[in-house]
């Protein structure tokens, strides 16, 4: 088995591309990221590891915009992400230049995934070690969209998804609790999913909300704290309600 993971252009006898699978491992070790699609907003959330005291946290933005109507968050190797994001930003502008139209979310996702796939089929390079969550509004229909790509170069659309550390628990939570939401409810759902795996508190979570009219907006730490407090209160109330009937009986 060890012999089949050197040059990634080589398949293993049982049909695996080991470098791609190792890249997925790198993603699994990256910080948690979640995306939730609502009817009029789309929310991206990432786990923020504790920032060293001397670091300027503003220079470490984990949720970035690719164009005025497209944003991206990812889990995995951040340096690889930077390269991919730069290429995607150029492609967004190039598309605007050649067809005089903004990209659709599907187009730019297909481009990023195509780039990731190219690096699984070239000599002397390794795959990008990141999974990206791409959100945006379709410039014509105005429909919100959420897509996910992975190091193998596959992509698909999601109503809600998570990637990175403990993504399975987050996805399970989302599968159980997802319903069509809008506005603040969508933000709450995203934060609740993140709180399943992250220490609660505004300084451990980064949230950005995309709306059709205002584009991408990063929430302030105080806003996040307020919503977290709301969620905790709701949880406590639910717990109390559960205990109350059993006391009577």
């Amino acid at each position: 088995m060890a012999r089949y993971d050197r040059a990634i252009t080589v398949f293993s006898p049982d049909g695996h591309l080991f470098q791609v699978e190792y890249a997925l491992e790198a993603v699994r070790k990256g910080n948690a990221a979640v995306g939730v699609r609502g009817t009029d907003v789309i929310v991206l959330g990432v786990e923020k590891k504790s920032t060293p005291k001397l670091q300027d946290s503003r220079s470490v933005r984990k949720i970035v915009s690719l164009d005025t109507h497209i944003a991206l968050a990812c889990a995995g190797l951040k340096a690889d992400a930077r390269v991919l994001i730069n290429r995607a930003r150029i492609e967004c502008q190039s598309h605007r230049l050649t067809v005089e139209d903004p990209v659709t979310v599907e187009y730019i996702t297909r481009y990023i995934a195509g780039l990731q796939q190219k690096y699984t089929q070239s000599g002397g390079v390794r795959p990008f070690g990141l999974s990206a969550l791409i959100i945006g509004f379709d410039p014509y229909s105005g429909a919100p969209a959420l897509y996910q790509t992975d190091p193998s170069g596959t992509f698909s659309a999601w109503k809600a998804n998570a990637t990175g550390r403990n993504s399975n628990s987050m996805r399970e939570f989302l599968e159980k609790n997802y319903k069509e939401t809008s506005g603040q409810e969508t933000v709450k759902l995203a934060i609740r999913a993140l709180l399943e795996v992250v220490e609660s508190g505004g300084k451990n979570i980064e949230i950005a909300v995309m709306t059709k009219e205002q584009g991408l907006r990063q929430l302030e730490e105080s806003e996040i704290d307020a919503i977290v407090a709301e969620i905790e209160a709701e949880k406590a109330a639910a717990e109390a309600a559960k205990k109350a009937p059993s006391k009577d009986s």
């Binding site: 050649t98 067809v99 005089e100 139209d101 659709t104 599907e106 187009y107 297909r110 014509y140």
Partner: protein, 287 residues
């Protein structure tokens, strides 16, 4: 072949056997044999014609070869969509080579292009544009906009700028933003507009079109305006004639409305009024 290896005899009166044109040297790029004495691996080159103004000579040559845009095509946007109309005459100098040329090409069921200039250039590049539009549809699961299609064509023509393409085309269609009309030419220029006419007959067509145009016309009124404009252009311009074709592009796609022989249109617009005779020669009865 072998002649280059023969020893030179400078004072020889013998006729030299010229084998130029028969040689083929696959080792040299361009198939040109390098002169003996030169480095056989040098890039092949040919001599320029000996004239004082080579650039002018080149320009004249291109102008001689480039067919003048002898045609009349027009298109305009109105309330119900886009009307596209053209004549059908092809000329080679003073010779009318055809009266039945299709100058409106169907790029896809929702987009039309017009031909002015080199017929081969226009036909080929419109077909190529149709292919690109279809590939865009397949990749993006939505039809390409008129803006995008015209930009694709304009970028292609710009990359061939200066190489002698002759294309003066209008791209008309109906996309999600409504009716769209662009003028694209071989210089790489691209203009968005509501009324265009291209070709040698265009000044005459503009005269009729501009004076009769109103945004709020019905499809029939607009078609009749286009037909009249083409007819008048064919009347005055020798390089335009044949059949006046009129197409309409609506939200469901394009539809050919009419194709009338301009000779017949002439008599329709200007019927011959029999002049009343004042005096008639009558048989005189034998007195």
């Amino acid at each position: 072949m072998v002649s280059s290896l023969l020893p030179r005899r400078p004072n020889s009166r013998m006729m030299e056997l010229h084998l130029t044109g028969f040689e083929s040297c696959p080792l040299f790029p361009g198939g040109v044999v390098a002169d003996h004495g030169e480095n056989p691996l040098a890039a092949a080159s040919f001599q320029l014609p000996a004239c004082s103004d080579f650039d002018g000579f080149q320009k004249d040559a291109i102008q001689m070869m480039k067919p003048a845009k002898g045609t009349t095509t027009l298109a305009f946007v109105f309330k119900e969509g886009v009307i596209v109309a053209s004549d059908s005459r092809a000329t080679m100098g003073g010779y009318i080579s055809s009266q039945s040329v299709k100058k409106i090409v169907e790029i896809n069921p929702h987009m039309l292009g017009t031909i002015a200039g080199g017929a081969a250039d226009c036909q080929f590049w419109h077909r190529n544009l149709g292919i690109k539009c279809r590939l865009h549809e397949l990749a993006n699961k939505r039809r390409i906009s008129v803006t995008g299609a015209s930009k694709l064509l304009a970028n292609i023509l710009y990359s061939y700028k200066g190489m002698g393409l002759s294309v003066g085309t209008m791209i008309a269609g109906w996309d999600e933003k409504g009716p769209g009309l662009y003028y694209v030419d071989n210089e790489g220029g691209r203009l968005k507009g509501t009324r265009f006419s291209v070709g040698s007959g265009s000044p005459y067509a503009y005269g009729v079109l501009d004076s009769g145009y109103q945004f709020d016309m019905s499809v029939e009124e607009a078609a009749e305006l286009a037909r009249r404009a083409i007819y008048h252009a064919t009347f005055h311009d020798g390089a335009s004639g044949g059949v006046a074709s009129v197409y309409h592009v609506g939200p469901q796609g394009w539809k050919k409305l009419s194709g009338d022989d301009v000779g017949e249109l002439h008599y329709k617009y200007y019927p011959v009024i029999p002049t009343p005779t004042e005096q008639e020669m009558a048989d005189t009865s034998a007195a």
